[in-house]
């Protein structure tokens, strides 16, 4: 699973409202686990989407066969601890939002108006709302019920704004990668 697949999700799910498909779920997977940031962002998008469903052994995914279990098995608690706390926050927030989400789903049942829908449904006079969710995920916004809109992050961190951490190594070996000072 790759970032561009995640970037496509908000566009796909919100556009589905245009053909009356209001509860479209998606496989929350982390690929082979090599990119925990992708997994975290997928969980966050899932927490603020119609259906939150982490992936299973591939039973629902047809031909997904990457190992003997079907698809990869990854769970939120498989994330490294520093990212797990953010995943947990997203899951807890979704749990806390259930009264809002469940009520919005009931309104959808009565009105046939999807609660996850494109921005231009609510703001047709704002022409930029038609560009607020793009197929490449450059913008990824959608209405989430009548009272809020969400702009999930669907691309990896900007290398220009990375914060640096200092890792101290005590090592006799010199390396071109290391800035060394004599003690």
């Amino acid at each position: 699973m790759t970032w561009d697949r995640l970037a496509y999700q908000p566009y796909f799910s919100s556009s589905a409202a245009n053909v009356g498909y209001g509860l479209w779920s998606h496989d929350i997977v982390g690929g082979d686990g090599s990119d925990p940031e992708l997994f975290l962002r997928w969980i966050q998008w899932g927490a603020w989407s119609s259906i939150f469903r982490t992936h299973d052994r591939g039973m629902s995914s047809g031909g997904c066969q990457v190992n003997e279990n079907g698809c990869n098995l990854l769970f939120p608690w498989d994330l490294p601890q520093d990212l797990f706390v953010h995943a947990r926050f997203a899951l807890q927030t979704r749990s806390r939002l259930i009264p809002y989400i469940y009520t919005a789903t009931y309104k959808m049942h009565k009105s046939l108006k999807s609660f996850l829908r494109p921005m231009y449904w609510d703001f047709p006079k704002d022409t930029d709302s038609f560009k607020a969710c793009t197929i490449d995920g450059e913008m990824s916004q959608y209405m989430f019920g009548d009272e809020m809109f969400i702009a999930p992050v669907v691309s990896p961190s900007d290398p220009d704004t990375k914060l640096a951490t200092k890792k101290v190594r005590l090592d006799k070996e010199q390396s071109d990668d290391l800035d060394c000072i004599a003690l």
């Binding site: 009272e147 809109f149 999930p152 900007d158 290391l178 003690l183």
Partner: protein
């Protein structure tokens, strides 16, 4: 014997920010993470840390939530809302919301109208805040009359316990 101190400067994607451009539609919107008001239509660029998912709530809206409880990391409507929080995104002279509830599992809401709609309304004038909880319909065994509502305004973190009985 170690005779050198070597510093490896490793840029960490886990502590980095994402700065997407976000379109703010007409109206005033409250950015959940910072409680900052944004007035649309406009485009803004936000710095979004890994902990955050940008959520914007209409100013004046009341969002019904339930309190965070230990272990409730999953989302299910099967258990009744034993307590509710009403998050008011900027107090106004009046406002409100509704909360729908059913048994969370069967189709009895459809087959036999077994559901409940709780109405929350408040007024705020001359420094006096009044809130009222009423029901449109109560058919559930677990009527919400016995439930508590925890009320807080979004900005002040003021918690009020409302008892509807």
């Amino acid at each position: 014997m170690t005779n050198q101190l070597c510093l490896s400067i490793r840029s960490s994607p886990r502590s980095s920010l994402r700065s997407p451009q976000i379109f703010i539609p007409s109206g005033t919107w409250v950015h959940e993470a910072t409680s900052t008001n944004y007035i649309g239509p406009a485009h803004v660029t936000l710095s979004v840390p890994l902990s955050s998912t940008p959520q914007f709530v209409k100013r004046g809206a009341v969002i019904p939530m339930r309190p965070k409880t230990t272990g409730a990391t999953y989302a299910s409507a099967i258990s009744p809302f034993e307590a509710l929080e009403f998050h008011i995104y900027d107090l106004r002279s009046s406002g409100g919301t509704t909360v729908y509830e059913d048994d969370g599992s069967s189709t009895s809401y459809y087959d036999s109208d077994d559901f409940s709609i709780l109405k929350f309304k408040y007024t705020f004038s001359n420094g006096v805040f009044e809130a009222k909880l009423t029901h449109d319909k109560v058919r559930l065994d677990d009527g919400l009359e016995e439930s508590d509502g925890i009320l807080r305004t979004h900005k002040s973190n003021l918690y009020l316990l409302l008892r509807s009985s």
